[in-house]
Symmetry: C2
Subunit: 357 residues, 2 copies
């Protein structure tokens, strides 16, 4: 078992009642009073993460609202080999704060089978507690543009991870990729036209403090942020470049990506996002992404198995090279991408539900 | 970390010294005195298990003989997601008994990297202890032969497992397969010519007590055991039937296996064995096996991840069907297989090193 990030500590010993969605938990009514609500789901592929993440981000409050004393959930994972996977939860202001924890997929299956036979009682105890905020910092490095230094192409990743492991894939790999991409561009005989900025965000995992801090500190410059990327999907083989810009952006960028053909990477349809970049949305900053293969990403994501041995140096280098090529193109090409329609500003509830990882 | 089966309990806090084989540990000499010997290896595929198992079965004694105070080993595993894998070890009479434990492949990689930088100190504490033997029993059921009931085709599996998980693959799956194969044969309109005996062996994992007990209790009948199988390789898709008999056995058996063509299974070259069957070797009992795909078997073998969710009911049924077909053939066909040359009798040291799983 592992506590969800942001969970209160506490103990409970109670019967378990299973739910397959927030709505099903709400419909339990009195049947959940004094019980432990167990959120189960059918995640089997990476794309299921977005489908079921609401159980993690809002499950404890949904359970508490119908009188539950604790919440358990099946890990959001495509594999676990008995390791539970954690991640951010949040508490709604109108619900009691009850402990929330994840169990391995194996233990979820066991609990599900036992519940089909009759009542199941579980005792859980979480020792976690929230400490006061401490000072920390983003790390920002510029490769200053030779002609338009005030126009910025941002490539970022996040410095923090969960404490179960090293966070090698989430997001040590991303940090290595953008640092290397920045190094490669800085080592060119001449800097590109615009500034390439490498940003290592602090505290993505539990509140986006770094992403929000960056947006606040650079508010006056965001109109001149011409594109931004966050590398936060592990270090599988890079498959494609994706873009969120205004109409016509793809056709502007595509010719610049010819060097990526040697890596089998091309510009493909599909959105781009990044949790730390979401505070940039109101400013209409175009987003780009280099998407790696995430087939096995959620086997280890937010678990004790997110360790350095899972990193393939060749794939890490290919991702870094792809990021460097796209960032260079955006910093060097004559024009800037059309800006997408601004997304609505993120309120507190939204940022506790990051779209991706 | 998990204690190896049969390890003494105990604590140690000492510097670590790495070895890649028993021979390398022996060559450490004084460099190992007072240290923890860490056996590391390069297991990456199922067939590597046999290559490196000596580290587990004999590592603590090899380390103790050069003065080590404890032994750690990289889990014998093709994957672990941070779960250590246990298994049987044994102590040589001439070496001190020191604690032996396995760490996950991830932690082994970490320890290896740290050791390249300088001295590493590890503290370990094992609470395990050996309790006195308790009564237990094999389970034996006969489908009595209609013409030659004294001739026996044995199909077996083992009832016990390690306590880290349910032992669904090792060897719950095998138990289910042979019980189902026996049930299918017993349900035929007439029993086959010879007796089909289903044997569930107790205590394969930690000393083969059930296998040795069976051989001792049935010593007088072993000359009339015409073939024996142990299902102990998990429940992957069945791939092939294999045989250990005297010359000409394969050509006798092959025509009887035509029904297995519908499952894509055929008689292939390759030995057959079974830890619980090794005490039958001196009697020259022909052995047969239905080999499943073991690609992922050692991801979960002897670990907390050996749980019921890993069992595919379809593959379980296909294995049971294949075992039923082969056992029926051996029990029904006019002649019996030629017997292989007897293997030498197993002494104590041998049976603590089971050939397979």
């Amino acid at each position: 078992m592992t506590a969800l990030g942001n969970s209160v500590g506490g103990s409970a010993s109670a019967e378990v009642v299973e739910a397959r969605s927030l709505a099903e938990a709400a419909s339990l009514g009195a049947a959940a009073r004094g019980k432990i609500v167990f959120f189960n789901h059918t995640m089997s592929a990476p794309e299921d993460y977005g489908k079921f993440i609401e159980m993690r981000t809002r499950g404890p409050s949904a359970a508490a609202r119908v009188g539950a004393v604790a919440m358990l959930m099946r890990s959001l994972a495509t594999g676990s080999l008995r390791s539970p996977h954690t991640g951010m939860t949040s508490y709604d202001p109108d619900a009691p704060r009850i402990p929330g924890a994840a169990i391995s997929t194996e233990d979820a299956d066991l609990l599900h089978r036992l519940l089909r036979r009759g009542p199941v009682r579980v005792r859980l105890s979480l020792g976690c507690r929230m400490l006061p905020d401490a000072d920390s910092a983003n790390v920002v490095a510029d490769v200053r543009g030779r002609e338009k230094p005030e126009e910025v192409v941002l490539i970022g990743a996040h410095l923090d991870s969960w404490d179960l492991a090293q966070g090698a894939n989430d997001d040590g790999a991303g940090v290595a990729m953008v640092m290397e991409a920045g190094r490669v561009i800085a080592a060119l005989p001449q800097h590109p036209r615009r500034t390439v900025r490498v940003v290592l965000f602090m505290n993505e995992e539990n509140g986006l403090a770094g992403g929000k801090g960056y947006a606040a500190a650079h508010q006056g410059e965001l109109g001149r942020h011409v594109a931004a990327l966050e590398a936060d999907s592990g270090a599988g083989p890079p498959l494609a470049v994706r873009l969120r810009s205004g109409d016509g952006g793809s056709s502007m960028l595509a010719p610049w990506l010819a060097p990526l053909a040697s890596l089998g990477i091309e510009l493909r349809e599909g959105d781009a996002s990044g949790a730390d970049l979401s505070p940039l949305d109101p400013s209409g900053v175009p987003l780009f992404a280099v998407h790696p293969d995430v087939t096995h990403y959620f086997d280890i994501h937010h678990s004790a198995a997110d360790t350095f041995d899972k990193i393939d140096p060749g794939n890490l280098a290919r991702n870094a090279a792809a990021i460097a090529v796209v960032a260079y193109a955006l910093a060097e090409m004559p024009g800037t991408l059309p800006r997408p329609a601004p997304k609505p500003s993120h309120d507190k509830q939204d940022v506790t539900r990051p779209a991706a990882h």
